[in-house]
C-alpha cells in the first residue's frame, strides 16, 4: 500500500522537533524520529503537507516506540490522538481524493551520486508507468541546479544535503529568497540524520526525508504535491512574522492566525527572526516585548528606524495595555496587540491592520 509522507512537528514541554510522518489514520500517526519519548508522554503534533494541505495541530500521547529495522522500516514513535478532530478527517479525505493528476509532473533532482539518480529515474518510471506522466531532470551540484531553475519551471525540487561545493541547504536558502521560486515545494534528502534535517529545514525545505529513500512513498507524496498548481494561481495569503521567545505562545499564535487564513512564520530568537525576515517577505510583524536577547520595543524601533521596514510592526505582549501603548508610541512603531485579549482578538486585530494597510 502506498504511504504518504507528511511533515510532522512534535512539541513537548521540553522542546520541539521537526520531522516527518507516515500512516495517518483518524486515531494515530507514526512519526519518524530519533527522539526517545516515554510511553504515555503528552505531546502536540502539527501535521501538514506544505503548500498542499493546511497544517493541523493535535494533542496526542505516545503509545509505542519503534526501533529502525528492515529496509524501509524507520525508527520513531506512534502517537495516538487524544480526541477526534474534524480537521484531521478533512486531511485524510484530501489525501484520498488527491490520488491522481493527469498533468505531467516536472521534478528537479539535485543529487551528486549518479547511481542514486539512476535508481530514482528507474523507480519513477516503474511507479508512474507512462513516461509522459513525469519528467525528471538532474543536477549534480547546486550551481547546475541554479542554472536550470533560472530557465525552467519545476513542480518540485528534491535536494540532497551533501553536494560538492555549496551544500543543499545553501541552495534551498537561495531558492526561498527568490521571488519567482520561493513557492516551489522542496523535499530535502540526506544520509546526514538530524544535522542535515535541521540545516535543510532551517533553510526552508518543506519536508526532510532520510536516505535510503522508500521511493514508492516519496512518489505517492509527489502525486499529492502535483495538485499544487491551482493553489499557485490563487491570491497570495498575507504573511505575518511573529517573534516570541515562548515556543507555546508561538505555536498558539500560529495556529490561530493560520485558522483565519494567514500564512505565518515564527521565530524564537533574533537569528531565526533575521533569517525569516530575509526569506518570507512579511506583510505584518509582531514582536514580543520581553525577549532574552533584547527588548521587543528596541528591536521594533530598529526595524522601523534603521532597517526601513515599511510594513506594520506591532508590539505583542501581556504587559498592561497602558504600558504597552506608551512603549509602542516611544518606539514609533505602528501599535500593539495585547496577548491578554486572547486569540479571537488577535485574529480580529490582524485582519483590521492588514485591511487598513492594503
Amino acid at each position: 500500500m502506498d504511504r504518504f509522507i507528511l511533515r510532522a512537528e512534535i512539541q513537548t514541554a521540553r522542546g520541539s522537533v521537526v520531522s516527518y510522518a507516515y500512516d495517518l489514520t483518524p486515531r494515530s500517526v507514526f512519526v519518524v524520529t530519533d527522539w526517545h519519548l516515554p510511553i504515555d508522554s503528552r505531546v502536540t503534533v502539527r501535521l501538514s503537507l506544505p503548500r498542499v494541505l493546511e497544517p493541523i495541530e493535535v494533542a496526542a500521547h505516545v503509545t509505542s516506540n519503534r526501533v529502525a529495522g528492515a529496509p524501509g522500516e524507520l525508527g520513531g514513535v506512534i502517537l495516538e490522538f487524544d480526541s477526534a478532530r474534524p480537521s484531521l478527517d478533512a486531511m485524510l479525505a484530501s489525501l484520498t481524493e488527491r490520488r491522481h493528476s493527469g498533468a505531467p509532473y516536472r521534478v528537479l533532482l539535485v543529487e551528486d551520486n549518479g547511481l542514486t539518480r539512476d535508481v530514482f529515474a528507474y523507480s519513477a518510471g516503474r511507479y508512474f508507468g507512462t513516461p509522459e506522466s513525469i519528467s525528471i531532470e538532474h543536477a549534480e551540484h547546486a550551481e547546475r541546479a541554479w542554472e536550470l531553475l533560472a530557465t525552467q519551471r519545476y513542480d518540485i525540487v528534491i535536494v540532497d544535503y551533501f553536494l560538492p561545493n555549496a551544500d543543499g541547504a545553501s541552495l534551498i536558502t537561495k531558492l526561498r529568497a527568490d521571488k519567482r521560486l520561493r513557492g516551489v515545494p522542496v523535499v530535502a534528502i540526506s544520509i546526514g540524520g538530524h544535522a542535515a534535517r535541521d540545516a535543510t529545514m532551517a533553510a526552508g525545505a518543506d519536508v526532510f526525508v532520510d536516505k535510503p529513500l522508500v521511493f514508492k512513498d516519496l512518489f505517492a507524496t509527489l502525486q499529492l504535491l502535483a495538485h499544487l498548481a491551482p493553489q499557485e494561481t490563487a491570491a497570495p495569503r498575507p504573511t505575518i512574522l511573529v517573534l516570541d521567545d515562548s515556543a507555546l505562545a508561538l505555536a498558539v499564535t500560529r495556529a490561530a492566525l493560520e485558522s483565519a487564513g494567514f500564512s505565518v512564520e515564527i521565530a524564537e530568537d533574533l537569528g531565526a527572526f533575521e533569517r525569516a525576515r530575509a526569506t518570507c517577505d512579511p506583510d505584518l510583524i509582531l514582536v514580543d516585548l520581553q525577549m532574552p536577547e533584547a527588548y521587543g520595543d528596541d528591536i521594533a524601533a530598529m526595524l522601523v528606524g534603521t532597517k526601513a521596514v515599511d510594513v506594520p510592526v506591532f508590539l505583542f505582549s501581556s504587559v498592561d495595555e497602558e504600558e504597552l501603548a506608551r512603549r509602542s508610541h516611544e518606539a514609533r512603531v505602528s501599535g500593539y496587540i495585547w496577548k491578554g485579549a486572547g486569540m479571537n482578538e488577535l485574529v480580529r486585530r490582524c485582519k483590521e491592520i492588514l485591511e487598513h494597510a492594503a
Binding site: A13, R42, D244, T253, S318, K339, G342
Partner: protein, 94 residues
Amino acid sequence: MIEDIRGTFLHRFTSLARTRLAKSREAAGDPALLGTAVRELHSLAGEAGLLGISDVVPLARRGEDLARKLGSGEPGESLVAILDELDQIIAQLG
C-alpha cells in the same frame, strides 16, 4: 476553531505552567534569582492570555511585578502566596 486550538494546547499549557511555577518557587527564596521568576511569570501570563485562561493573567502579572520589586530590594507581599494561588488555578484546569 479557536476552541479546538485551545483544547489542543491546554495540556501543554498546564504542563509548562507547572514547570514555570516550580522555577518561580525556587527563585522566590533567593533575591539573586528573582529575575527567573520575573521571566517565567511574564511568559505564563502571555501564554494564558492567548489561550483565554483569563484568571491566570492578572495574577501572573501581579507576581511578575512583585518579583521585580522584591529583586530591587523593595518590600512587598508574599510571592509564594501568589504562586500558591496560581498553582490552584492550574490544578483546576486539569
